[in-house]
């Protein structure tokens, strides 16, 4: 028996040995093939003059025409810049918050208080942006919004604070509302990572005379460092992607130049007029840039001595 045959038999053998595990794997693999890999064929749409009635294969091949058309539009660079800026602000303001929150929650002694505050923190994650958008209007609108109305009445300000009506204030409102919405949910991974830290390390630190802050700094944080790094890389990879509902709902015409992002741009330039080829072209562009960013972030972290994601 040659080595090759033995090896082949070895693979079959291990599959047969663990067939239950492989059967369990079938569903997720099918999910990825059907919903993630098969649709990838559709990126071809970006290179055709797509006719949805005839399908991609019957549509005319036009090379990079769709990319050129879209990128020449004056709104494209604006939308691209806003996407990067809003995501960057979100990352700077939003990334550390769940870590700090998770550490704080971890130090809460009373189980009841801990559970209650966790639940309250998760809550906004389950609210649709349509609802949050309505709340934001109620709270921050000029003159009629609760904040402005109150401050005006008390005489603390004599002009509206332009939370929603000027560029930078809008960007900050957008970012902070996003942090509020997602911070609770973001703690889940960190909390489970903290739970995974060996308790003996804390005990050892205590015996060495470390106080609470020193324990956090020297035990907790290093313990969840790899989790932080992985999440950071994944977040950087998302820099080009921005959801549609959040900027669309929180934005308004007066800050159009600040709230127009790639997703809302795609909606106008591609979806509303059935130009699916152009919409696909922008989507593909985003994905390629996202891939490059993840790759770069991964490379850099590996150079810094961390594990990275592959």
């Amino acid at each position: 028996m040659t080595d090759l045959r033995r090896a082949r038999r070895g693979v079959m053998y291990s599959i047969l040995q663990n067939w239950r595990l492989y059967v369990m794997l079938l569903l997720p693999v099918a999910f990825y093939i059907i919903f993630c890999y098969k649709p990838m064929i559709g990126v071809g749409i970006a290179f055709t003059k797509y006719n949805p009635v005839k399908g991609m294969w019957a549509s005319r091949w036009v090379g990079f025409d769709n990319f050129k058309f879209v990128m020449k539009m004056p709104d494209f660079p604006v939308a691209l810049g806003n996407t990067l800026l809003l995501n960057f602000m979100g990352l700077i303001a939003g990334f550390p918050v769940p870590i700090i929150l998770a550490i704080m929650l971890n130090e809460v002694r009373s189980i009841k208080v801990k559970k209650l505050s966790q639940t309250l923190l998760y809550l906004p994650h389950f609210l649709s942006w349509v609802i949050i958008g309505g709340m934001v209007l109620q709270i921050f609108a000029p003159t009629t919004g609760v904040v402005n109305a109150t401050l005006l009445k008390w005489g603390w300000i004599d002009q509206n604070v332009p939370f929603l009506t000027e560029g930078w204030p809008w960007r900050i409102t957008y970012t902070l509302v996003g942090v509020w919405q997602s911070m609770g949910w973001g703690t889940i991974l960190y909390l489970s990572a903290i739970t995974g830290i060996n308790m003996e390390l804390f005990e050892a630190a205590k015996i060495d005379g470390a106080n609470k802050l020193q324990q956090i700094w020297h035990v907790t944080l290093p313990g969840i460092r790899s989790t932080i790094v992985v999440l950071l890389i994944l977040n950087v990879g998302q820099m080009m992607n921005i959801s549609f509902d959040r900027p669309y709902i929180m934005g308004n015409t007066r800050v159009q130049n600040y709230c127009d992002v790639l997703s809302t741009f795609v909606y106008r330039a591609g979806i509303t007029n059935s130009k699916f080829d152009r919409a696909t072209a922008i989507g593909l562009f985003q994905s390629v840039v996202g891939l490059i960013m993840v790759g770069t972030a991964n490379f850099v972290t590996k150079r810094l001595g961390e594990d990275g994601i592959w």
Binding site: V53, M73, L137, T144, Q256, N273
Partner: protein, 534 residues
């Protein structure tokens, strides 16, 4: 291994059994899926309504056609249809106000060509719509110089579009006459604000910025500023949809800018908040608003009635004050004769018998007695009496009709836009009868105002490709434009105005203007030019 295989097989079988009933069809019957707008009227189930049952009984059963209504939210119909057509899941009969979308699918060859079908199965459709109107749905797709019929334009029975409303009770309190031009209207706004007639939150003038067409509302006021001495017919058509670029418009926007800084406008007009607008309207904060001619008195949302509840004696009345000085006319635009575009989507799986059934259904709908039933419902339930001319009166408002008889005339009987009773006079008379008696005189006056110095909206009989490519981008720029020029510092107005116009041009407006100009020169245009010598 065998066990797993058999398990998988069993699962597969189970799954396929679940989907079998969907394919089962009774012998010889076909299913016809018809799009139906859903306006979320409480208690009205579009997919299982009285009109469906009536049509099934009188049309479906005799023809072995199973009718099925597919609900689509009214205000997002264009987006939903875009998705459905793109995915090949659109109903067999669809209708939309999105002409660009229809044009796209004509070029994609995604619609049934209707010429032969109409000749064979649609005599009543042809009679009801007439040759002139049918032309709206014709386009030369194969390039042989002859236009083919690609969609059915619904017949619009009442083309009035503009309703401008002012507070009668405020005028009385101010002891002012109804304004007749911009100057006296401005005076009214200032006086109303000075006297705080709507309380602390008085907003003398309200208008909306609809994202899908941001200038839709203000163009009605701004057109009064256009200097028609400087506008040629060619420019009028070339700049259709872009009136802010016509001579004189700038002064109109400067007027709005002045009003804004005097605190006479709705401050949050560009921060999309429909609910706040609605509640302000019903609470009587506004001194002026502008929508459809029948808007304040509609049976499904009666602003007048609600406002009276909040403020005693509050009263909306139509006002005719946007006088164009260069023409000496109070211009009002009216719709073209076509309403919705009715299409029969065609995919590679579409069967001709379904298209035939669709045309038969619309043909049945076009027969007067069927149309009457679909539009009016049942005597004694939807309306209580009939005039000598056969027009229903004492029409019940939606909340007074039991759920199983709730209906929507226009959405289900889509081929007619407005109630049809056989002649223009009867239709006009019937229009008022559908409203609360107390408000009928106001409605009649408002419709009459809407037809004063009327000009028909411009459209083109060939597709404007630049509109499809850049339309949405240009609209969004127009929104920005409106927001900027109304709210900006008056000292910077000129610079900001010019820059915003340039921005719109760069975004694709110049391509649109060029193509519309070419269409005008080729004679492929519809609508009227108000500056034309009479």
């Amino acid at each position: 291994m065998k066990k797993t295989l058999s398990l998988i097989m069993a699962l597969v079988m189970l799954l396929s059994m679940i989907s079998i009933p969907a394919f089962a069809e009774e012998e010889g019957w076909i299913t016809l899926r018809v799009e139906a707008y859903d306006r979320s009227i409480a208690g009205f189930n579009v997919e299982d309504c009285w009109q469906l049952k009536y049509a099934q009984e009188h049309f479906g059963n005799p023809n072995k056609i199973k009718l099925q209504f597919v609900a689509v939210p009214r205000w997002t119909e264009g987006d939903v249809l875009t998705t459905q057509l793109g995915g090949g899941t659109a109903p067999d009969i669809c209708m939309t106000y999105n002409g660009g979308l229809v044009n796209e699918y004509i070029t994609y060859e995604g619609l049934w060509k209707l010429d032969d079908l109409l000749d064979q199965y649609g005599p009543n459709i042809k009679a009801f719509l007439g040759d002139e109107l049918l032309k709206f749905g014709q386009q030369d797709q194969d390039g042989d110089g002859v236009k083919e019929q690609w969609f059915l334009p619904a017949r619009r029975l009442d083309v009035s579009n503009v309703g401008n409303f002012i507070r009668k009770d405020w005028l009385d309190k101010l002891e002012m006459e109804e304004p007749t031009d911009i100057a006296s209207f401005t005076e009214y706004l200032r006086a109303a604000k000075a006297a705080n007639l709507g309380g602390e939150r008085t907003i003398p003038m309200q208008f909306d910025l609809y994202e899908s067409d941001p200038l839709y509302n203000v163009v009605r006021f701004i057109d009064a500023f256009i200097d028609f001495n400087q506008v040629t017919a060619e420019d009028w058509y070339a700049y259709s949809g872009l009136h802010e670029m016509l001579p004189g418009s700038k002064e109109g926007y400067r007027w709005l800018n002045t009003l804004f800084h005097e605190g006479l406008l709705y401050e949050n007009f560009d921060i999309n908040d429909d609910q706040a607008t609605d509640s302000a309207l019903m609470n009587g904060y506004f001194g002026f608003f502008s929508m459809q001619p029948d808007q304040p008195w509609r049976t499904d949302k009666n602003y007048q009635k609600e406002m009276e509840k909040a403020v005693e004696g509050a009263w909306w009345t139509s006002v005719n004050c946007f006088k164009n000085e260069s023409l000496g006319k109070h211009l009002h635009d009216v719709y073209a004769a076509n309403g919705l575009s009715v299409i029969l989507p065609k995919t590679k799986d579409s069967k001709e018998e379904v298209a035939i059934a669709a045309i038969k259904y619309i043909d049945w709908m076009c027969q007067p007695e069927n149309m009457f039933a679909l539009q009016n419902g049942v005597e004694g339930i939807n309306y209580l009496a009939v005039t000598a001319d056969g027009i229903p009166t004492q029409v019940q408002s939606a909340d007074a009709v039991p759920d199983e008889h709730k209906m929507h005339a226009g959405d289900i009987c889509f081929i007619a836009n407005g109630l049809y009773y056989g002649s223009d006079e009867k239709n006009a008379a019937a229009k008022a009868l559908a409203f609360d008696e107390k408000y009928q005189p106001e409605l009649v006056a408002s419709v009459a105002d809407a037809y004063t110095d009327a000009w028909t909206q411009v459209s083109f009989s060939i597709p404007i490709q630049a509109s499809t490519d850049y339309g949405a981008m240009v609209k969004s720029k127009q929104g920005e434009f409106l927001s900027k020029v109304v709210t900006c510092d008056p000292a910077e107005f000129d610079a900001i105005y010019d820059a915003a116009i340039q921005d719109t041009l760069n975004t694709g407006a110049s391509e649109i203007i060029e193509e519309q100009r070419a269409a005008y020169q080729a004679g492929e245009f519809r609508g009227t030019f108000p500056g034309a010598a009479e």
